[in-house]
Amino acid sequence: MLNVGKIEEGFVLDHIEAGKSLSIYHHLQLDKLDCMVAIIRNARSDKMGKKDILKVECDINTLNLDVLAFIDHNITVNVIKDGELIDKKDLVLPKKIKNIIKCKNPRCITSIEQGLPHIFVLADEKAEIYRCKYCEEKYNERF
């Protein structure tokens, strides 16, 4: 069994689908933060069989939960302060996401217009479908 120590302040992202932790690491731009990060892959889980866990020691206001919710809203977000669990955040699919994914429709105005943000809007909450705000192309890839 691998042991990773407690963190004083930050987040423990639990129940990440096995294999997705590195993708989440990059999308949360953790590589740009000067903080301690532990990536645990393929941990044993009663619920999921295998899961990934991310432990991030940082200011608790720095994490973009919308990004996380878009990637996988089943992730459990444990908020840690002074070494104690102070909150568990429920993730809800964001209504709108900006500059997280790019529209791949070559006919979309985002493909040529300088400085235009890539904005996706939640078009169908049940089916978890996002569409480009400008061309309404469906975003098909999941993380």
């Binding site: 105005i109 217009e113 400008y134 061309c135």
Partner: protein, 304 residues
Amino acid sequence: MRHLMNPLDFTTEELDSLFDLANDIEKNPAKYAHACEGKKLATCFYEPSTRTRLSFESAMLGLGGQVLGFSDAGSSSAAKGESVSDTIRVISCYADICAMRHPKEGAPMVAAERSGIPVINAGDGGHQHPTQTLTDLLTIRSLKGRLGNFTIGLCGDLKFGRTAHSLINALVRYPNIHFYFISPPELRVPDYITDMLKEKKIVYKEVIRLEECMPMLDLLYMTRVQRERFFNEEDYVRLKDFYILNKPKMAMAKKDMLVLHPLPRVNEISVEVDDDPRAVYFKQVQYGVYVRMALILTLLEIQV
């Protein structure tokens, strides 16, 4: 300030007001002949579309306003690499309202976000062409006297045909509409549309031949079946005649059925049908001008 990007931007009540205004313009053109005096419409057409552009220009001239603009990207600053955002900021200083056609989907929305004047989407790639849908709805309402309680057949390329998709999305907001989709299997209406119809419990039927549904239709919306959409020449030759409307097929239809077509027509409606009083596709062009006049007045908030 309002823009028009999508035919669904207006509620059915707002559309009723717009169509009432369009019908009043039709009856009393003189009353509106000076309504836009001193106002300018910019037609920013980044790709050629003679009919839509002329329809907008005719609408503004009919209201006593003036028109300026360009009719292809080559003669605009876009050729020098100017962004849509910058262009619309500049155009906002020259005109009071703008109709924009652009090959890139969503370009008019980018313009609307940065614009100081109302922007009308005059067609953005394969995405939306709301004034065509408004034209179709006004034609149906004016000539049938209602929007709702009818059976409509849409015929031709229903897979890629943006005018057909837009019309379906606009019509589902009205009660008791039944659809017949008449197309070759390769060009069937996309799943997302049939899924939406199922969810709303709207009755539709997909058929291969026009003859299978002609007697049932109150309206027939024809679109072009393009040779290049077929996987092979053999299928095209085999199927193309199913989608050509001619006198024998018209003989099977109701006496008051109406035939609409967004135009341009190539050969999918035989010219012998043009003299049939049920063929209203040229009247539809006239309604296109009235609805654009009504739209310009509405977006400029001009009351007559």
